[in-house]
Amino acid sequence: MTILDAVLFLPLIGFLLLLMIPKSNPNLSRIAALVISLLIFVISLGLAGSFSGALPEGFAFVHDSEWVSSPPIRYHVGIDGLSLWLVILTTLLTPISVLASWKHIDHRVKEFFAFLILLEFGLIGVFVSLDLFLFYVFWEIGLVPMYFLIGIWGHERRIYAAVKFFLYTFAGSVLMLAAIIYLYDRAGTFDYAQIQSMLQSGRLALSSQAEMLLFLAFFIAFAIKVPLFPLHTWLPDAHVEAPTAGSIMLASVMLKMGTYGLVRFCLPLFPNAAHKSAHWIIGLAVIGILYGALVALVQPNMKKLVAYSSVSHLGFVVLGVFSFTQQGLDGAVYQMLNHGISTGALFLLVGYLYERRHSLEISAYGGVATPAPNLAIVFLIATLASIGLPMLNNFVGEYLVLQGASYTSFSATVFAAVGVILSACYMLWLYQRTFYGKASESLSHHMPDLSGREWAAILPLLLLMVWMGSYTQTFMPAISAQNARILDLSKERVAQTPPSQRAVREVANAR
């Protein structure tokens, strides 16, 4: 029993506890959800402890025991620099989502918070699984609560959005399941590290065609989740229709399942196919960056605007991952966290506006800064973070991605940089139309400033924006060390290397 086990299973226990709370007492459900999620967050901070100072080799907090004997499916979990911060991001955003839904969710309260905590279980599981099968199980578990969150508590077209979300992800993931079974048949194990080392050492040799098909099976599942252009169409629907908490968890954490999968599985397991496909994937990423930004520019709906900005920002992550450079990968992973923080904050703030005015149309606002100056300031900080102002978090990630990408493909970098400019355009324009100008009479009456609960939800995110933007030392060493390992594993493999030569090369590498 490690801290990690506790962090993983407390949400499940919390889910069951929440189910037992009587329906007639919604406040108790709210408080219980908050207490449970805060408790999980506090415990999860203990995970970071072992990554300060000397970094562990490989995985920390490993727990490896049998789940199913035949085929050998193992409960094998552990974290490294890549998953550590994603887990903490999940545990941080869950209590924030609880706070965001405090008043907004007023019917079927108990079920809502139960699903929210169950979602946390699935998400944490995805990031800590070191067994391919276990990974797939958690990957699917996350789908179900999110489906209900969108479908029950969403806006008008919620059913369409929920079903589309479920089917898109499910269709993508069944192909991944086929690939996982195929790998198992060849390797005799689901264990990530074992399969990795078998592929690496050539004990498990895949033909280049098989490697490409496996790569694509994983890649499509992840690309749908990221989402990479042109598989992104479920995202605007899901985001717009989801309740605030759903949007936050979806954008901040769930999309990272896809990018995490790319870094964890696609690169180290199938490096040759990844290198071979890099050029068109980079192409799609750049198209996504520009397309997402351009579509965001013309959105009349705030949530849709933020949703398309996610398509654009996640394009940067994919670009960084497939640059195969240390900077690019560092930037990509950092950008995953940044996007979680800043887009989470934006969805939270859009939720605040919606609670006050019950509209997501930008044209329904204008002059909000006058009645609600604090809300305006907070929104401004989140906006500036999102467009990549130096000293705020996104700048670091975007800069590193662009630098890394420039080594691989300078033209892609140029186009991606245009995306940065466009993001300033659409975000500032949104800000201007919403907060400046003269406030209408009806708006002023319904626009109280931030309440204590709202401050509590947004403040941690603001602090993190500044912290991550100005003192990367807290986060970067663990990420960077792990990325170096992943890059090392992701070098193109030369087929049929005689063992003697390989030994010579390994000795040379060791020097």
Binding site: S69, R108, I141, G151, F170, A171, V174, L175, A178, I181
Partner: protein, 485 residues
């Protein structure tokens, strides 16, 4: 062989479950005639359950004494024991979920229970049969009882339609089966499965004719498991029959028919596998596609579940295409998983349909989650299992099947099957949509709480679904040891 003329004690021990169930069935018929007041007649249900549980115990203990019985006509091996336990367990849950229904429809007759018991006897004979004539006899015992059950509410025209269709088409299909049996006997001079196998291995009989005979028998079996293109009866029969009977038909007789299909094709027709594998392959694909795409169109939940059961028959046939012991183990696991899941789903539908089965349209389920959250949650578990979401039985069922066929290097059927399961997700989700995302209608407003028998049936099925989904190892171990080689 005078020694075999009088069966020994151990042979009776091996078929004790069948004996218990037959006697119990006859006893129920007698009690039906003798008991006149309603209080006395309440005993039928509990009595049948006790008999089934006794048969279950007998069947489990007989599995410790494997071997043949009655001049090699029956064989009690791991495979037979697994399926015998399964069909008996199915009977228990089916009876638990029907008692309340029968009282509601004012038709709580003893013959219902007797018919279920007899039909289970037939299925037990089927799964233990080691030669074609016994298979045929078992199939007929089971089928004739099923035909009557499908038309049990005889004043209801839908029941009549259902029973008549089932009977006519069923007899027609059985004729194909019997014709195939006759051919095989003509070709090999035996009806014993092992002897047929060795005769076909020597390839003295013309293999093309043996292949044709296998095809004829496959038609008969495919009808019983409702595999496309022999599935046309299933939607009409399931829709017309009483709900608990539909649930029972979709798992019990089906599991037994799959058992003999697997046994006959993997043992007797093993030597000509290359001839029948393409047939099974195309039937599997056709069933998945037809079942899933037709289910999308349905508005009646019984009909939808009927098409879904056609699709699931397709998945299990996929396992047979692997023609390996892992494939057979996967099919066994899947049938067990599917039995719990589908019985549970039908039990919830039974509860919800109410008197006269007024509410069987999917839209009637609107808002069920707000009036009966527990029942809605259980139905959710069953539907997620039918979709194949992890931590439910259905997921591991699909996983084992597709693993078995990938072992056999059949990549395309795997990919097609998995894509099909994504299509299937759509129509199962529709029920979740109406249950959870829509506001309650009149249909659910005045819903009484479920009775105790139904509750046990639903919770037991849900428990089975979750246990098989979280700790699949032990059932798979049993299946792997019992699988046909």
């Amino acid at each position: 062989m005078p020694a075999n003329l009088f069966p020994t004690g151990i042979e009776y021990y091996r078929i004790l479950p069948e004996i218990i169930l037959t006697l119990a069935g006859v006893a129920v018929m007698f009690m039906e005639a003798v008991f006149t007041n309603d209080d006395q007649r309440k005993i039928f249900g509990p009595f049948s359950i006790v008999a089934l549980l006794a048969a279950l115990v007998a069947s489990l203990s007989a599995s410790g004494e494997p071997g043949a019985a009655f001049s090699n006509m029956l064989i009690i091996d791991g495979f037979a024991s697994f399926f015998r336990a399964l069909v008996i367990a199915v009977g228990v849950i089916a009876i638990l979920s029907s008692t309340e229904y029968l009282r509601r429809e004012k038709s709580a007759g003893g013959e219902y229970y007797a018919l279920i018991l007899f039909s289970i006897v037939g299925q037990c004979v089927m799964v233990t049969a080691n030669e074609l004539i016994m298979i045929f006899i078992g199939l007929e015992i089971s089928s004739i009882a099923s035909y009557v059950l499908a038309g049990y509410l005889r004043d209801d025209p839908r029941n009549n339609e259902s029973a008549l269709k089932y009977f006519l088409l069923g007899s027609f299909a059985t004729a194909f089966l019997l014709y195939g049996v006759a051919w095989i006997y003509g070709l090999t001079g035996t009806t014993n499965l092992d002897h047929i196998r060795s005769a076909l291995q020597t390839s003295t009989p013309p293999l093309a004719l043996a292949g044709a005979a296998a095809a004829l028998m496959f038609v008969g079996f495919a009808f019983k498991i409702s595999a496309a293109p022999f599935h046309i009866w299933a939607p009409d029969v399931y829709q017309g029959a009483p709900v608990p009977v539909s649930g029972y038909l979709s798992v019990g007789p089906k599991a037994a028919a799959f058992a003999i299909l697997i046994r006959v094709f993997m043992t007797a027709f093993g030597p000509i596998a290359t001839r029948w594998e393409p047939i099974v392959w195309s039937c599997a694909l056709a069933s998945m596609v037809v079942g899933n795409f037709a289910a999308i169109q349905q508005s009646n939940i019984k009909r939808m579940l009927a098409y879904s059961s056609i699709a699931h028959a397709g998945y299990i046939l996929v396992a047979l295409t692997a023609n390996s012991s892992t494939g057979s183990a996967a099919a066994m696991f899947y049938l067990a998983a599917y039995a719990f899941t589908n019985l549970g789903a039908f039990a919830v539908v039974t509860y919800f349909s109410r008197k006269g089965e007024k509410y069987v349209s999917i839209d009637d389920f609107a808002g069920l989650s707000q009036r009966q959250p527990a029942m809605a949650a259980m139905l959710t578990i069953f539907l997620l299992s039918l979709i194949g979401v992890p931590l439910t039985a259905g997921f591991f069922g699909k996983f084992y099947i597709f693993k078995a066929v990938l072992d056999a290097n059949e990549v395309w059927i795997t990919v097609l099957g998995l894509l099909n399961s994504a299509v299937a997700a759509y129509y199962y989700l529709r029920i979740l949509v109406v249950m959870y995302f829509k506001d309650p209608t009149d249909a659910v407003e005045n819903l009484d709480a479920p009775g105790i028998g139904l509750k046990i049936a639903v919770y037991a099925s849900a428990l089975g679904t979750l246990i098989l989904g979280i700790f699949p190892g032990w059932v798979l171990d049993i299946a792997t040891r019992a699988a046909l080689k």
